[in-house]
Each structure stands twice: as C-alpha cells, then as structure tokens.
C-alpha cells in the first residue's frame, strides 16, 4: 500500500503569539540535546554546542512543555502564550 505521510507542521493550527514564550539561556545550556530529542515538532537544533530554537517556533509549537521539563540545567524558560493565542485544537 502507498505510504501516507503525516506532515506535522501542516496539521497544526496556531494563532501566532505576539511575544516570545520560550527562551534559552546559553550560559546554562550544556548542549545535552534533551530538548532536541523530545520536541515532537522538531523545533530545537544544536548550533556551536548550544541549543537554539527555530526562529519561527511560534508558528508550530504545541505548548506541550516537554522541552522545559527535560532540561536538567534549567536553561529553558517556558510560559504559555498570552490568553487567546497559540495552538488551536478543534478536534482534541
């Protein structure tokens, strides 16, 4: 049977937050990759040994809070987007 691909980024609806709600402190980040592994939307990369968030993460982030939770070095700050912004699940 023909393989059906799940294009995750095309399947999320997001009202883009006007402000940043995730940030990473490069002083604290040790480049352990936990955030890269855990993000189901693949929004994290390691550049020069430090974690960086994709510049347009606000368009795709599902606010799952996994990246914040797996960072053992307390390098990630996470809050939710302002009320009324962010991920929209019509069929949760």
């Amino acid at each position: 049977m023909e393989k059906l691909l799940i294009e995750k980024r095309e399947l999320v609806t997001v009202i883009e937050s006007p402000v940043d709600f995730i940030s990473v402190d490069h002083e604290k980040c040790v480049g352990c990759k936990n955030c890269v592994i855990i993000c189901g939307m693949n929004l994290w990369k390691i550049r020069d040994g430090k974690a960086v968030l994709e510049t347009d993460y606000k368009k795709f982030c599902t606010e799952c809070a996994s990246c914040y939770t797996v960072c053992d070095y307390d390098a990630i700050k996470f809050t939710f987007p302002p009320g009324g912004y962010g991920i929209v699940y019509q069929r949760g």
Binding site: L4, I6, K8, V12, I38, G40, A65, T69, Y89, G92
Partner: protein, 463 residues
Amino acid sequence: MNNYDLIVVGGGPGGSAAAKEAADAGLKVVILERGRFCGEKNSSGFGLAPKAARDFDYIKDLDVPSLWSTKFGVMHIVEPMPSNSERMTWGLTPPKRNSYPQASEYLVQMMYRPEFDQWMADLATKAGAELKLATLATDVIWEGKNVAGVVDGKGNTYRAPVVIAADGAHSLMANKAGIRKRWDKDQIAVLATVDFEADPERIAEYCGDTNVHIFMGPDRGGYCTICRDGFHIGSRPAKTLQSEIDAGRNLSTRSVIDNVQLDFIQRLIKATRARPREFQLHFLPWLKTFNERIFTGGLMLTGDAAGVPEPFMAEGVWQAMYSSRLAAQVAVRAHGDKDFSKAYLKKYMEELKVSPVGVDFTSGTVLRDFFAAWTSQTFYDLFDNLADAMFYSMLTFAEPHAHGMLRVPAIMVDMIPQLLFMSRYYFPIAEEASRDKIKGFLAGTKMVAPMLQNMMKATAGGK
C-alpha cells in the same frame, strides 16, 4: 479589583466540576481559561469512563454532537515490525455483571474534547460561575503564607481566599505557588495523536457499532478511536519523557506515525476516504505513586495539575472531576470555618488519598511495569501461541482434526514461559485487589512457578 470566594484556574473538566460544585453551594466563583473556548488546548480523543455517570448525576444528561457510547471495541494483536498485519483480533464488550448499570451499558463514552469541555463549562456558568476565556493566569498573589488571588497576563488581579488550580499537566500555578517547579522526567509522558477527517456515511458503513480499536505487538502499540466524522490515531503509552530521552528519540511521535501504517488503519483510511486533519501533542502525568504535594495555604491543585491520572492506563478525566469536586467541597468547608491555611487544606489531600482516586495508586509500579510489558515480544508470543492453541485443531485443513487436537498440548507447553511472565505481574495485582480470597491459591502457585521455571530452562525452545 475582582473579589470572589473561589478562583478556579483552568476550564478543563476538572476546573468546571470544581466551579459547578462551589457555585451550587453558593460561592461566588470565577474560572480563568487561557483558550478562546474550553477544550481549545486539550487533546485526548477521549473516552469518558462509565464511573463518571455513576458519580456525577449531571453526566447522565450529557449530550454533545460527537458523543458515541462504545458498546463494541476490538483488540488487535499486530505482528512484529516491519509487518503491519494482524495476528489475532477479538471483540471487547462491557461485561454483563457489574456493580452499576452504566458499566454494563458501555465501555466508554467517546467524544471530542472541545464539545465536552464546553458542555462542562456551561454547567458551571448555569450554576452561577463566571467564565473568563482567553485569560492566562500568570502569577499568584500572596498574603502572608497564603495564596490570596491570581494575576492574569494583562495585569488584572482576582482576589479570593482560596484558589483551585485545575490548570492541567504543566501547571504554572503549582510553579508560582512554590509547590513544584516541574515534573520529574519519569513522572510525565508526552502523547502524540493524529486526527483524521472522514466521510460520515462511509464511517457508518465500514465501522458499524465499533468505535474503539486497540493495537498491541512487539514494540508496537496504540489506539484508534472513531468519531462520527473522523477518527483519532493515538500512540502507545508506557513511555515517560525519561524513557524517550534514554532511547534518544521521541517514541510517542514515532509510534503514532508508525501506527498510521498498520494494515487496519490503512484500510480504514481508504474505505472512509480519510485525510489527516490535526496533529496534536499533549502532556499526560503518569505517576507511580500518589502525589501528596498538592496543596499550600490558600491553594489546591486538582486533576492533571495534581498528577492524579491513574497509574495503569493514565485515564484522567474522571480523576480530574473527582479530585476537583472534592477540593471544591473542602473550599466550601474552609469558608464555613474561615480557615484557608495550609494545615486546613491538607484535608483535601488526605481525603483524596483514601478516595477511589488515591486507592488506584496502591498497585503502583506493578501495574505500570505490566502495562509497559504489553508491547513486548513475550506478550506477543503469548497471543501467538494462544491463537494456535484455541483454533488450530478446530480449523486445520492440514491434517485430520484429531491429529490437530494432539498438537494442542504441545502448544500449551510452549506457552509456559509466557504464562509465567503473565503470572509475575498478574498475581501481585490480583493479590492486592482480593487478598483474602486468593491467598491460598497463590501460595500454591508460588511454590509451583519456580519449579516450572526450572523445568522450562531444561526444555527451552520454541514451537
């Protein structure tokens, strides 16, 4: 300044159950919900347990468009990867003998979360609670050692002597109130789901009365829940963030994408002309033991924020409603006694711990390990042999049926390792549940099991 008797943070099933309970008792209540509508931030693809109708009178009147009570489900044992075909399937129906009627009528009530969450919030507002949508609670207000209100993202303050934080798995309120900075990695899972849109007529034709499918196989697992105009594909549970980090990949997301390739799902997609509609990722607390750190002065955590989803399947909506109603009752009593201190609100934790929500945690790790083992090769082999043992002799065209029958005892002997594996998990759980009844029986089995195990070592070898 907005003054209330009770502030509820979060308009999920927990928050609304708390708000309705407190408003019915005459408290002035506000719910703060960050979504533009209730359920906007929640994904489950969700089955409400029959015990909700038993324990909450109003659930008997539940009526939302996607509601579909599950009278038939199917369990599929799928072959090891890369094969996606099914080895064995069998039907699941609610048992006829049960302690209350709903449990015999349906397995779960399936529906979409936005519909359910808004229906629950309507109950709360009809009881008199105020609902503020698109409102993110960002901080708590302290008065001495007690939380005495919250602040929202626009800087508005809401004051009340007691706050119920039903703000879901990633609880900002737990953080701000100094109860918990974050979950430990082995206390929480992130679950992926894909929602498909499909032709309702074809769904009715192809699926009939069966709207839940569960898949198990070596290193495979997941579920498909069918709604009237589409369906959800879910990943397997049994993985916490810790196990994902240990594995070095996001297993839940991988698993849901793999599950789309299952033969049954591919057929369902074709037959119902389905197209993927929404991809979802959501936290689910999955604690092994009851979490006692769920209160401080002026604030109680309930539902996912308290980590109450049960330790086996991680069912959490009834648990959220139950814990939140209890917290609301304690809040009403606290108003009567004019005491909102940490010492007073401890009663909520103590009462929850001995309630059915807390009791589910007594089997703790055994249950969890058993569930994790569901997707092991051993578990698959059990069903593999079982299918042969049950049907080979009856159905064989390969040899006379009597000869086929003679093969059955040999197949049963092959199953001993898997049966021992089952008993390792099953007996401690059953022992916990009905200690007295089966103690004698277990004593016997425990003596026999090691002997059988030794015999097995000698005769090891497949069928």
